[in-house]
């Protein structure tokens, strides 16, 4: 892959320029031992798993309700979600911090993972998907005595794998790479996530490039694995959203 090749290339040129005899394995052991890579990795992983599972399910539930069920206030709610989707996260971030402060969520996994769970754009994506589902499916299941709740879990979710994986992957990339929110929420090293740790590493007085690249490659690895496993579906769905606008 380009990225790893890039890093390897840099590493080799780096060694060519400064013959300090860094062996890459040494860098890896250094970041695992000295920089405490696994602590930050665990933080990022906990936050990502918590966040992505909730993002995938909760937004799907709302998308299903808006897309397939009829109830009072539905039209208004759809407009409301579309309007909110225009608001960039960055413009509410400072006061999102205030809300988290009042909810006593600072410096905790909850504070890192929960505020980004309900995401208007994902709700809209799911809404569009469920709206396109054949209504006959719903009606037939109702005639068979299935509840609206049961329909979602037993029929609709299994039929929605492509959109679910799209949201899950996008959600994961969002959670894994986020820098601004963790910067505000974390107070010290305890809950520091990978991007924050990498930034701390690269703004040190002494910059150890070898360690930084080792850290960066390890940090990229999980996303790379996910991308390789799901790339076909992922790229297709992204291209699709481009056409729909």
């Amino acid at each position: 892959m380009k990225t790893d090749a890039q890093i390897v290339e840099d590493m080799s040129t780096f060694r060519a320029f400064i013959p300090s005899g860094h062996i890459s394995a040494e860098n890896y052991s250094a970041i695992i031992g000295k920089v405490n890579f696994f602590k930050f990795f665990k933080n990022s992983a906990v936050v990502a798993i918590l966040n992505v599972s909730l993002v995938t399910i909760l937004n799907a539930m709302m998308g299903y309700a808006l897309g397939l069920l009829s109830f009072k206030g539905k039209k208004f709610m759809i407009s409301f979600i579309i309007a909110l989707a225009i608001i960039p996260t960055e413009s509410v971030i400072i006061n999102r911090f205030m809300v988290a402060l009042h909810l006593h969520m600072l410096n905790s996994y909850a504070g890192l993972a929960l505020p980004t769970v309900g995401y208007p754009m994902f709700i809209f994506l799911y809404y569009n998907h469920f709206k396109g589902m054949p209504r006959e499916l719903l009606e037939a299941a109702i005639v068979d005595g299935e509840t609206y709740n049961g329909i979602f879990w037993k029929i609709m979710l299994p039929l929605s794998k492509p959109v679910i994986s799209t949201v899950a992957i996008m959600g994961f990339i969002r959670s894994w790479g986020d820098l601004l929110w963790p910067t505000l929420v974390t107070r010290d090293e305890t809950y520091r996530t990978l991007p924050l740790a990498l930034r701390a590493l690269s703004t040190d007085v002494y910059i150890f490039w070898g360690q930084i690249f080792a850290f960066a490659s390890l940090m990229t690895l999980p996303v790379l694995i996910i991308f390789v496993l799901f790339q076909k579906q992922f790229i297709q769905s992204l291209a699709m959203t481009g056409i729909k606008g």
């Binding site: 892959m1 069920l69 009829s70 809300v99 820098l179 076909k232």
Partner: protein, 303 residues
């Protein structure tokens, strides 16, 4: 089955918990959206007219200051610089992505063999977190003679540049990083639009004796319009959100040359504790994004 019986039964069932289920299903996501989108948004608007501080100063209460914060944005040099920088950055990134992305997409679209490999390669930067991209590129832009890019430039006799430490070059470096990272995704989106152009049109063009350039201008571009508008707007909005590279690499420097709008509101609110002022910047930022989104809707609907 006849339809009438189904619809009769359905009307029975509509009262059977459809509304209840719907609200129950909306509740969790809605609660999250309320707490972390709507309330912060309303607070931003409310606080932007006050001098509220993040850490309240002893003996000073929060007061209503009218449009004072907004006037401050207009009169403050650093704030003006942040808006100008963000605009400059968008001007560097957006045209580059549009032009290079379209050319690459057209090029890749012609070769049926190996398209998937191409896509994977171009898409790979998307996989790398922006923080990592920034750090890796900062290595490339290392100042001094031993810097990666400088040593290459040295081969062709260009003296070493100080890149991120030079207030004339830093923003350009950050723009290059972003172009490299997002070009792949935008290209794939344009490629998706190209797939929808029927081959017959190009056939007809060939019969009419169109050159490659004419085909591109009169067939490809008009039919790609919606996709291109989408790429244009989404890239523009994304560039306006510039923060990560600035925060990781330059902290807004040197000499405020890379201070972006989002970095400004982060610094005002979080480092300088000026919640009111920061909220006003956030509101202005939102209005700019809103105007761009409205332009998109207008351009898309105008068919």
């Amino acid at each position: 089955m006849n339809r009438r019986s189904i619809s009769l039964r359905r009307s029975h069932h509509i009262r059977d918990g459809q509304t209840a289920t719907a609200w129950l299903f909306c509740a969790p996501a809605l609660l999250s959206v309320f707490l972390f989108y709507l309330i912060p948004f309303c607070l931003s608007i409310a606080y932007s007219f006050t001098n509220k501080m993040l850490v309240p100063r002893i003996g000073r209460s929060t007061e209503f200051v009218g449009v004072g914060n907004y006037l401050k944005i207009l009169s403050n040099d650093i704030a003006a610089k942040a808006f100008v920088n963000t605009g400059l950055y968008a001007l560097m990134v957006v045209p580059a992505i549009m032009v290079i992305g379209t050319i690459l997409a057209v090029f890749v679209n012609r070769q049926v063999k190996g398209v998937k490999t191409f896509r994977a390669i171009y898409f790979s930067p998307q996989v790398v977190t922006m923080t990592v991209v920034a750090v890796v590129w900062s290595f490339i832009f290392s100042p001094g003679e031993s810097g990666l890019l400088n040593s290459f430039l040295g081969l062709i006799g260009i003296p070493p540049q100080s890149w991120l430490q030079n207030s004339n070059q830093a923003l350009f470096c950050i723009a290059v990083m972003y172009i490299w990272q997002s070009l792949g995704l935008q290209m794939i989106i344009i490629l998706g639009g190209l797939q929808y152009i029927p081959e017959e049109l190009y056939e007809a063009g060939r019969l009419d004796g169109c050159s490659i350039v004419q085909k591109f201008l009169y067939i490809t571009v008009p039919l790609l319009k919606n996709t291109l508008v989408y790429v244009l707007i989404s890239t523009t909005i994304n560039t306006l959100k510039l923060f990560t590279q600035v925060y990781v690499l330059t902290n807004g420097g040197p000499n405020h040359s890379t201070t972006s709008v989002v970095y400004l509101l982060y610094k005002a609110g979080f480092i300088n504790s000026q919640l009111g002022y920061s909220s006003a910047i956030a509101v202005v930022f939102f209005l700019i994004v809103l105007i761009i989104s409205l332009i998109q809707n207008y351009a898309m609907s105008e068919k």
